[in-house]
C-alpha cells in the first residue's frame, strides 16, 4: 500500500460521514478517482454501513412498556421527596409573604398620598420605598431596551456572511469566501446614513469562519466586484460553500441589490441559496434577483439539482 493510501484510508470513515473539511474532501475524492485499493476500501466500508441498517434492536417482552409506568410510580413513591420540592415550597411561601407585605405597603402608601405635605418627614421609610420602586422601574426599562437591541443584533448576525478576508485591492478582486455551515440567508438593511464608507459596509458584512480552500478550488473563480461598483452601483455578490450534509452539492448564495446603495434601499435583497452539483459549471450572469438565480440554475443541463433553501427577503 502506498503511504498516501494509508492517510487517505484513515479519512474514509469521516468521508462517509461528510465530516472532512472541504479541502480534505476534495483531496480524498481526487485520490479515489485513481486509486483502486482505496475505492475498494471505501466500498467495503459503505457495505458495512449498509449491513448495519438491517440491525433491529431487541424488543422487550410483551406488555413490558404498559407495566413500566406503574413500576416507576411504585418506585417513586418509595423514594424520599427530592430536596428541590422543599426549596420550591419555601420560595413560594416567601413570595406569598412578600406579596402580602407589598399589598399592605401600597394601601398605606395610598393613604399617605392624600396628605402630601410633610409625609416624607413623617415616614421616611415610605420615601425610601418610593425611591426603590422608581429605580427598579427605570432599571427594568433599560433592561427591556437592551433586550430589544440584542434581538436586532441577532437578526443581523444571521446573514450569509461574506467579506474580504484580506484588505481589498483597489479595483481588484474581492475574495469571496464562505464557511462550510449551511448558509442561512436573510436581508440586511443599511442604517439611515446609508452612503457609507467602505469600512462601514465591511463592518456590516462579516465572514463566519474562513475557508480559503474555496478560492483555491479548481474551477472556482471569485467574483470580481470592484469597490467602486459595489458602493456606488447596484451589484451582485456571490458566495459558495460545500454543504456539510451533501458534499456533492455546491451551495450558491447570491446577494443582489436591485437599487443603488445610495438610494438607502436594502443593501442586499433578495437573496437566494441554491444547491447545485459540484460538477456544474456555473456561468454567472448579471441576474440581480432571486428569480434570476433560480432561472439561471434551472437552465443548467444536468440530471439533477435541488433548491435547498430560498428565503423571501420581505418575509424575513
Amino acid at each position: 500500500m502506498k503511504p498516501q493510501c494509508c492517510s487517505i484510508q484513515r479519512c474514509l470513515s469521516d468521508y462517509i460521514d461528510y465530516t472532512l473539511s472541504v479541502r480534505q474532501t476534495i483531496i480524498v475524492a481526487q485520490h479515489l478517482r485513481f486509486c483502486r485499493d482505496c475505492q475498494l476500501e471505501l466500498k467495503s466500508l459503505r457495505r458495512t454501513e449498509a449491513l448495519l441498517r438491517v440491525h433491529v434492536p431487541p424488543q422487550p417482552p410483551e406488555g413490558y412498556y404498559d407495566q413500566f409506568g406503574e413500576q416507576l410510580q411504585r418506585l417513586i413513591e418509595k423514594q424520599p421527596r427530592p430536596i428541590w420540592w422543599g426549596v420550591t415550597a419555601f420560595s413560594q411561601a416567601i413570595t406569598w409573604r412578600f406579596q402580602e407585605f407589598l399589598h399592605q405597603s401600597i394601601s398605606s402608601f395610598s393613604k399617605l398620598i392624600s396628605f402630601p405635605i410633610g409625609w416624607v418627614k413623617q415616614s421616611p421609610a415610605y420615601a425610601w420605598m418610593l425611591l426603590i420602586v422608581l429605580i427598579s422601574l427605570s432599571a427594568y426599562q433599560s433592561f427591556q431596551t437592551q433586550e430589544q437591541d440584542r434581538s436586532d443584533t441577532v437578526n443581523l448576525s444571521q446573514v450569509v456572511k461574506v467579506q474580504p478576508t484580506a484588505p481589498p485591492k483597489e479595483g481588484g478582486n474581492r475574495e469571496v469566501i464562505s464557511n462550510r455551515e449551511r448558509l442561512v440567508a436573510t436581508t440586511q438593511t443599511l442604517p439611515e446614513n446609508a452612503v457609507q464608507s467602505r469600512q462601514d459596509i465591511d463592518k456590516e458584512i462579516e465572514v463566519v469562519g474562513s475557508l480559503a480552500e474555496l478560492s483555491r478550488w479548481e474551477g472556482y473563480q471569485p467574483d470580481p466586484v470592484s469597490d467602486s461598483n459595489f458602493i456606488n452601483d447596484s451589484d451582485t455578490f456571490k458566495a459558495m460553500a460545500i454543504d456539510d450534509t451533501s458534499p456533492d452539492l455546491v451551495t450558491v448564495a447570491q446577494l443582489s441589490s436591485p437599487e443603488p446603495i445610495a438610494a438607502k434601499e436594502n443593501f442586499s435583497q433578495p437573496l437566494g441559496v441554491v444547491a447545485i452539483p459540484t460538477s456544474a459549471e456555473i456561468g454567472w450572469s448579471d441576474n440581480r434577483s432571486l428569480n434570476g438565480v433560480v432561472e439561471m440554475l434551472m437552465n443548467v443541463p444536468l440530471p439533477s439539482f435541488s433548491i435547498t433553501e430560498v428565503y423571501d427577503s420581505v418575509k424575513l
Partner: protein, 201 residues
C-alpha cells in the same frame, strides 16, 4: 425544544406526576432501545430504564432549559448503562440472562415470519444475527458510539456532548469500530448479492 416539552418540564419541576408520566410515555422506547443495546440483556436494561427516569424525576431542577431534553436523556441513559456494564465487568459477572443477546425476540420473530419468502427470511435473520453479534463483540466505548451514531442517528457533536468527550474522540472510535465491523462481517461485505444502500437512501 418543543413548546409542549418545555411546559411538561415546568410542570414536573412543580412536582406534577402527570407530566412525568407523559415524558415517560414519550421516551420509554428510546431509553429501552439504547439500554438494551449497551447492556445486552433485558434485566439490566430494565434497571437502566428505572434509574434513568428516577434521575430525570430527581434532577429535573438541574436541567437547563436552553439544552435539548433528548440529549440530556441520552446522557443519563448512556451513563447508567455503561456504568452498569463496567460494574458487571469488574465483578466478572456474566449477564443475568442471554434473552436478547443472540436470540431474536418472539415479537420480532413473529414480524419476520409474516414475510412471504422463507428463504429470504432465513437469510435476513441470519444476517441480523451476525450484525448483532458483531456489534456486541465491540469494546464498550466503540459499541456505544456505533449505537448512538448508526442506530440512533446522532451526529458527532451530539455524541461528543453525550459522552462528554471531544468530537475527534468520537470520530476515532467510530473509525476503529467500522474497521472491526468490516472484518467481522467480511462474508456479507464481500457478498455481491447484498444490496448496497447508503445513508442518503
Amino acid at each position: 425544544m418543543e413548546r409542549i416539552e418545555t411546559l411538561l418540564i415546568d410542570e414536573l419541576r412543580e412536582g406534577d406526576m402527570a407530566a412525568l408520566a407523559i415524558l415517560v410515555e414519550k421516551y420509554k422506547r428510546l431509553v429501552y432501545r439504547v439500554a438494551i443495546q449497551i447492556t445486552k440483556n433485558h434485566e439490566d436494561a430494565n434497571d437502566v430504564m428505572q434509574d434513568t427516569f428516577l434521575k430525570v424525576y430527581e434532577s429535573i431542577h438541574s436541567f437547563r432549559k436552553d439544552a435539548a431534553f433528548e440529549t440530556w436523556l441520552y446522557r443519563i441513559v448512556v451513563n447508567h448503562a455503561t456504568n452498569l456494564v463496567k460494574r458487571r465487568e469488574r465483578r466478572r459477572e456474566s449477564p443475568l440472562s442471554s434473552t436478547s443477546e443472540m436470540e431474536i425476540h418472539p415479537d420480532l420473530r413473529r414480524a419476520t415470519d409474516l414475510a412471504n419468502n422463507p428463504h429470504l427470511n432465513l437469510e435476513r435473520k441470519e444476517r441480523q444475527r451476525w450484525v448483532t453479534q458483531a456489534v456486541n463483540s465491540l469494546p464498550l466505548k466503540q459499541r456505544t458510539v456505533v449505537i448512538l451514531h448508526e442506530f440512533e442517528g446522532l451526529t458527532h457533536p451530539e455524541i461528543a456532548s453525550i459522552l462528554n468527550c471531544s468530537e475527534g474522540t468520537v470520530r476515532s472510535r467510530l473509525h476503529y469500530a467500522r474497521h472491526k465491523l468490516k472484518d467481522l462481517l467480511k462474508p456479507y461485505v464481500d457478498a455481491t448479492d447484498f444490496p448496497l444502500t447508503t445513508k442518503n437512501d
